[in-house]
Structure formats: C-alpha cells, structure tokens
C-alpha cells in the first residue's frame, strides 16, 4: 500500500483569476494595435499597390465585411446562417433602387439598406427561432429565405427582374453620389473606414454586457435563460447587427462595381463567400474574417495569374479553362484540413497553451 496523503482536488493554478484579467487586458491592447495597423495599411496601400491590384484589395474589404457580419451571427451568436446573401443583397438592392429609380444618394441608400437588412435579419431569425429551428435546419431555413428573395427579385419588374441595376456613370469624383473615377483610391479608403467601423462594432459589442450575454446564450441557451438573460432578444440583436454590417458590404459592392443583379446579390455564392472567409480565418474570433478575406479574396486571382504566367514546363496548363478554379478549390480544402479552426483560431489556441 502506498502512503500518499489524500487531498481534495486542487486547481492547477491558484492565481487563475489574476491571470485571466491580465490576458484580457493584454488582448485589448493588441486589438487596438492591430486596428491601428489596419488603418495605416488602409491609408497607405493605394500608394504602394499597382492600380490593377486595387480591385483585389477592394474585394478583400468586401469579403471581410461579409465575413465579419456572418461571424457576428454565426460565430458569436451561434446561429449558423447559410443565407447571408439575403442581407448583402438587400444592402445592394436598396441602394441601387433608391439611386436609380428614386434618385437618392447612395449614402442615403446605404442607410436604408443597413436598416432594412438589419430588419430582415431580425425578422428571419425571429421566425426561425420562434419555431425552434436549430443547427442544419436553421441553416437551411436561412438559405431558403435568401433563395426566395433571389427568386422574388428575379421575377419582379419594379426591381428590373433578372437584369438588375447599373449605377449611372458620373464623370469625375463626387462624394455626394459616392462615385469616383475608376481606380480611385478613395473607394479603398472608404472601404477601410467601413471595415474599421465593423471591427469596432464587433470589438465593442463583444466587450459590452449585451455581447457577453450573447456569448453566454451561444454557449448554453437554457443556462442563460436560467440566470435571467432574455435569450431571444440577444439572438435578435446580434442577428440585426450582423445583417446591417453585411448590408454595408452590399452597398460598397454596388458602388465599386456599379452593377448588381439577383444572382450576384442573392445567389448562394455570396453566402458561401461570407462563410468561407470566416471559416478560413477563424470562426468566433475578432480578427478571423479579416485574415480570412486577405487569404480568400485574392486566391482565385492568384490562381488565375499563376496559370497565366505559368513557368515553361507548366505552360501546357495555361489556357485550360476551369483549372484555376480547381486550384482554388484545392487550396481551400487544404487550408481547412490543415487548420480546421481557421488561421486566427489555431493561432489563439496554440498561444493559450
């Protein structure tokens, strides 16, 4: 018989609480530093990048906004949305309709777009939650709403049916109409501002009481309700925020590409992009969607360019249409297989050790 004494279970670190607080505040400091970096990059990038790459940089911003939006609802809110195209589309279409048919400035349109999208997100989520849809069922319900919107807009004459909207071209830069000459860095700067706003919203939300409550709800709904947290309300708040931010991406898309149609706006490719961005970067992390966007958005261009300028021994590959998409798909799959928690997610969990 061994003779060790009998002890009660002891915590591994008696000073756990203090450590928790310290990491928390060091996290916060890092967030501000990174945000500053984003701002600096946003201002300076147009001076560094060749003009042709600016449209890729724009795509990074648009993807990042969609990813941040999706991540709020699905990563922090725990509601897996497979239909974020709905909010992206509402943002773009509201702006386009108000601009082309009513003559309102896109800034105003953007405001309405954000409001409508937030409203739609709240409404759709309310219906889906009211009827207790969960997991894959919730996902497919949101998917169905996005599809319905797409079909509705496609069949709707007042919204130009399948033709969509083209933003009237104005020569020169006009802040009022949110239009600048092609290749103007101002687009990118505005995008950067949107991005920073979205990141700030996420940061402050996560730090706020409402944000904490939302995370509690995500971790365990029933337990959250048991300590007096109104579950539905917090889910709807985060869904609304998510929809609004995604709508920003819609407006930005419209003003930059100057064209929108039902397939682009409400097609499942838009939903997929939001998910891909967040998953590659790290679901449920503040910086995941941005990092994901930086990887994913240029990926298909990189694949295409790589093939266009293929080295001699691979030149038989160039000009094979579809190959670039295959490469894109392979990179995507490898990314997810190697880092199932996403880039930021993996980084954080490594550091935690």
């Amino acid at each position: 018989m061994t003779t060790a004494s009998i002890r009660r279970p002891e915590p591994p670190t008696a000073t756990g609480a203090i450590i928790a607080n310290r990491t928390n505040s060091s996290h916060r400091r890092w967030n501000w530093i990174l945000l500053g970096l984003v701002a600096v990059a946003g201002i300076s990038l147009p001076f560094i990048l060749p003009a042709a790459e600016l449209s890729v940089a724009m795509r990074v911003i648009i993807y990042a906004l969609m990813g941040i939006g999706w991540n709020l609802m699905s990563g922090f809110g725990g509601m897996f949305s497979f239909g974020h195209a709905a909010y992206f589309g509402i943002g773009a279409y509201t702006t386009a309709f108000l601009l082309v048919d009513v003559g309102l400035s896109p800034w105003v349109g953007m405001l309405f777009g954000v409001i409508f999208a937030a409203g739609a997100a709240v409404g759709i989520s309310y219906l889906a939650l009211r009827y207790k849809l969960k997991g894959a069922y919730f996902a497919l319900a949101t998917f169905a709403f996005a599809e319905m919107l797409r079909l509705f807009v496609t069949g709707n004459k007042a919204l130009n049916g399948s033709v969509g909207f083209t933003v009237p071209v104005i020569r020169g830069d006009t802040w009022g109409m949110f239009q600048f000459s092609a290749g103007s860095p101002i687009y990118f700067w505005i995008g950067t501002v949107f991005l920073i706003i979205a990141l700030l919203i996420t940061m402050f939300f996560l730090r706020s009481r409402a944000g904490r409550f939302t995370i509690a709800v995500r971790d365990d709904e029933m337990a959250a309700a048991a300590i007096g947290i109104p579950v539905l309300r917090h889910k709807l708040i985060v869904a609304g925020l998510s929809g609004g931010i995604t709508a920003l991406a819609g407006t930005l898309y419209l003003q930059f590409y100057m064209f929108i149609d039902p397939e682009i706006a409400f097609g499942h490719a838009a939903s997929n992009n939001a998910i891909v961005t967040a998953v590659v970067g790290g679901v449920g992390t503040l910086w995941g969607p941005l990092v994901g966007a930086i990887i994913v958005a240029p990926l298909s261009d990189l694949a295409t360019t790589a093939l266009r300028n293929a080295p001699e021994w691979l030149s038989f590959l160039s000009g094979q249409s579809g190959l670039d998409v295959v490469i894109y798909a392979i990179i995507l799959i490898v990314c997810v297989l190697v880092l199932p928690k996403g880039i930021v997610g993996t980084f954080l969990s490594r550091r935690r050790k």
Partner: protein, 282 residues
C-alpha cells in the same frame, strides 16, 4: 393533369437525387454541397461508358454505381474523415471545395459542350390524359427501387443497423467494436453511389454539362428537409411534394419562378414540423 403527372415524375427524379444527400446527412451530419456535382460526374461517366462501349445506358449503372461508390469512399477517407469533429460549417466548406473541384475538372476533361446520352426506344406515351417520356418513367421506377434498396439495407441488414448505430452515437459504436471511420466511408460511398444511380437515370433525358447536377442542389436540399433529414423514404415523399408544388405553382403563379412556390411550401412545412414531415421529435 399534365402538371400532376409531370410533377409526380419530376418529384421522383428529385428524390432520386436527394437520396444520397439525406443518407449522408443522416449518418455523418454533413450538408453535402457536392451532391449535385457528384450527380454531374455520374452523368459524364455514363456518357463516357455509353459512347465508349456502346452499351445500353441503363447498363452503365453497373459502372457508375461502383465507380461513384469508390470515389465517394475516397473523398470521405481523405478529406472528410479528418474533420468529422469539426463544426458543421467547416465540413460544408470542404464539400463546397469538392463541388468546385469536380465541376471544373469535368470542364477540363470533357470541355464545355453539352453532351447527351440517348435511350434507345425512348418515346412519349399517353398516360392518364398526360404525355410522358418513357425515360422519366424509368427514372421514377429507379427512384422507387433505390428507396426500397436503401431502406432494406438500412433497416433489415446488420451492416445497415451498424450504420444507424453510428448515426445515433459514434462513440458508443466504437466502444462495441464498430470501426466508425469505416462506416463513415461506407456511408459516404453509398451516398455517392446513390448520386451515381441518379446521374445515370437523369442523363437519359437531360443535357450533360458540368453544372447539370448543381441545378438540382437547391431542390435537393428542400426535398431532404421536407422528408426529414436522414430519412430515406421521407426523401421520396419530399421529392414528390416538391415536384408537384413546382408544377402546380407554375400554374398558380405564372411569371414567377415555380421554385418560389416550392420555397413557400418549404418554409411552411419547416415551421409547422421543424423535423420534416416524418421527423420524429427527439
């Protein structure tokens, strides 16, 4: 009448395509976005076999089904087994990647021209005041046979019970000696084989393009949810509902896409019975 008959037969086709999807979801809890692409792949295999060997299209089933089974099994082994514990969106992303990959590899190999497979002796016949093509009736019968086969497999055989055990509780299955990963591989293989059978049947009356399967993706999702995810006979009924709704919806809402009616029905059912028509409340 025509709408009813067509709706019924189209519904059969939808359930044929949704069968693999529902099986994979039921056991692996993966939303397989690549199901449509796998159907397209099977269509191309059918084409290659029929035009290469000159055999009857339905004989191609002897090749598409096992080949698709192997492809599915390989996909599961290499891509999905490593991330079975990951959250649902991570798995979804893999299947999106697979879908893109398959469709574009088909484009690379077969080129963009639409191809077709002719069913000898295919003709329209009159049936209850409507006209239908034989190939669609065969496809419908194919759907019935497939449902029956899968049902017998899952309900009446030992391996089928093992598959359902894994669906119910993988850990428990492992602890009593079932090789869970192998069951996953088997199931995804079966799902792909079902997509293979669907591809061959559908190939006889539609044009074969890389995206030919993806057009069914939306409807297949709806069918699966209506029938209750993971419920094989449910997929048949779900398919029929969608087929009929689509045809009748086209009559009721001309000018709007008939799919709109389908989605309306979809949401109504989803809200009324969140687990699908046959879903058991758990």
């Amino acid at each position: 009448m025509q709408a009813l008959t067509t709706g019924f037969l189209t519904g059969g086709i939808y359930s044929l395509i949704a069968m693999g999807l529902t099986l994979v979801y039921g056991v692996l809890h993966i939303i397989n976005f690549a199901n449509g692409a796998m159907v397209a792949l099977a269509m191309y295999i059918t084409y290659a076999v029929v035009s290469g060997l000159g055999i009857h299209p339905y004989m191609a089933l002897l090749i598409t089904v096992p080949v698709m089974f192997i492809i599915g099994a390989l996909l599961q082994t290499t891509l999905l087994n490593p991330i079975m514990r990951a959250p649902i969106h991570t798995q979804l992303l893999i299947t999106i990647g697979v879908a893109l990959g398959i469709e574009n590899i088909l484009l690379l190999v077969f080129g963009p021209n639409p191809l077709s497979v002719r069913l000898p002796g295919n003709q329209g016949i009159h049936f209850l005041g409507a006209t239908v093509e034989l190939s669609r009736i065969y496809a419908f019968i194919g759907a019935l046979v497939l449902v029956a086969a899968l049902w017998v497999l899952l309900r009446k055989t030992r391996i089928g019970t093992a598959i359902r055990s894994v669906a119910a509780n993988p850990e428990g299955a492992r602890l009593i000696g079932i090789n869970v990963k192998r069951i996953y591989v088997l199931t995804f293989g079966l799902g792909a084989a079902a997509a293979g059978a669907a591809g061959t049947f559908v190939a006889t009356f539609t044009t074969i393009e890389p995206t030919a399967g993806a057009v069914f993706n939306l409807t297949a999702f709806v069918v699966v949810v209506l029938g209750g995810m993971g419920n094989v006979p449910g997929a048949l009924v779900g398919g029929l509902i969608v087929g009929l709704t689509e045809q009748l919806g086209g009559l009721i809402l001309p000018g709007q896409s008939p799919l709109l009616a389908v989605f309306v029905v979809f949401l109504v059912v989803l809200f009324a019975k969140p687990q699908g028509i046959f879903g058991r409340a758990s």
